[in-house]
Symmetry: C2
Subunit: 245 residues, 2 copies
């Protein structure tokens, strides 16, 4: 991909003026694939720097709209639930960020511009269906790829911390029945559900205890059907109750 | 209280330059008093406008430090847990805010200043010990008072919505054993604990069911002591387990 170019007719500085200064969005996009939790990451063009998908907030956009714009641009997905989970507002968390990015791309921005100073970032996470995503690099990156959550390349700035906090929030949300319903087929086996929980929560469960706990906490409907095929006895199918999503 | 004056040697515009533009803090400060949940509110000088305690974020402060500064200035409290719960980043949520405030106080700020434009607010809540607070108005207000959560004056801008979201988050946090420990004496009766839960969650519980649920969820230690005095049989005392806070 070529060097970054602002939209036609705008200098980089004028383009930056279309955004709320000192404010950014970082999106932690989790994907569930083959019993594994993955993370969508970008690699900057011309540097081995890995970062989270992100962007600035247009003066004309709500912060939620800005986050949806980032998610849609990087994945092609619309109407996915994006959860705001934390504000990263420490000093010095990324002051060097702007400078390095604009140096690499040779963009012409005055040295005292806000983009080289402090930026407060709003963290959002989403848990998406891996199969439905078309990973798309942004103007600063040459690749956008899924990496295993537990074996991804080191991330720049405080992005490692942003991922940890997002994973914490995702795990906490998983106590609610119906969370992750978008990642399973409409009718699923107890084993499908267990694999999803194991991937999100990062630990193994005993099959019987898991089944007992899921049935007790409610929100699941046991169907009068079994899945066919496979070497073993056909497993029973479940779905989430209508009220649980 | 007199009209607002910026710190000596600074114009209002220069004073505003010490803050990150377009970013503010709103603090929802809940107090527990006589079985009731109260809210700390400010009334603007020279207008019957009620608002939440808030402020801007200094360039030199982390956002958490800015929130602590607001809490401390309005209550006198240090080292109280402040919980960031939501970002209010809709368009038009308070554009008229700055204009009206500065008009009332006759402050001289250019009309195109960011303070008259969009501001994204970071919401924090705290649950504090009513008895330990010294309510203190800010430079724009003539009073700072506790109001009942369920019968407070109407709030300006989107502050009503900010309070609702904070109360929702507070209720959700109350599922964790030990939450609210700072609002009870070290040793308390089951009735004290029940009153606290009723105030926070806004509903009544059956005495026996409440006791059963509290004992089952753990984190409580039943002491070999009873509270003396009072007309009824001396009630048993409890404390939170060391690991639960």
């Amino acid at each position: 991909m070529d060097r970054y170019q602002p939209p036609p007719g705008l200098s980089v500085a004028d383009w930056l003026d279309t955004f709320v200064p000192h404010l950014s969005i970082d999106c932690v996009i989790f994907g569930f694939h083959q019993s594994d939790l993955k993370l969508l990451l970008l690699k900057w063009s011309g540097a081995s720097v890995w970062v989270l998908p992100g962007g600035f907030v247009r003066h004309a956009d709500s912060v939620d709209a800005a986050a949806r714009r980032v998610l849609q641009a990087r994945t092609g997905l619309r109407s996915v639930h994006l959860c705001p989970f934390h504000v990263f507002g420490e000093l010095d968390r990324r002051e060097a960020f702007g400078r390095r990015l604009f140096q690499i791309h040779g963009a012409d921005v005055p040295r005292n511009h806000w983009v080289f100073r402090r930026v407060v970032s709003l963290g959002y996470y989403a848990l998406v269906d891996f199969e439905k995503v078309t990973p798309t690099p942004d103007a600063w990156s040459d690749s956008c790829v899924w990496c295993p959550l537990d074996a991804h390349p080191p991330l720049a700035f405080d992005h490692e911390r942003i991922v940890s906090r997002a994973h914490e929030s995702l795990r906490a949300a998983f106590d609610q029945p119906g969370t992750g319903a978008n990642l399973l087929p409409e009718r699923f086996t107890m084993r499908d559900l267990q694999r999803l929980h194991e991937a999100i929560l990062g630990r193994r469960f005993d099959r019987r205890n898991f089944q007992k706990r899921m049935v007790e906490r409610g929100g699941l409907e046991c169907l009068d059907e079994r899945r066919r095929g496979g070497a073993h006895r056909a497993p029973r199918l479940y779905r989430f109750s209508q009220t649980a999503s």
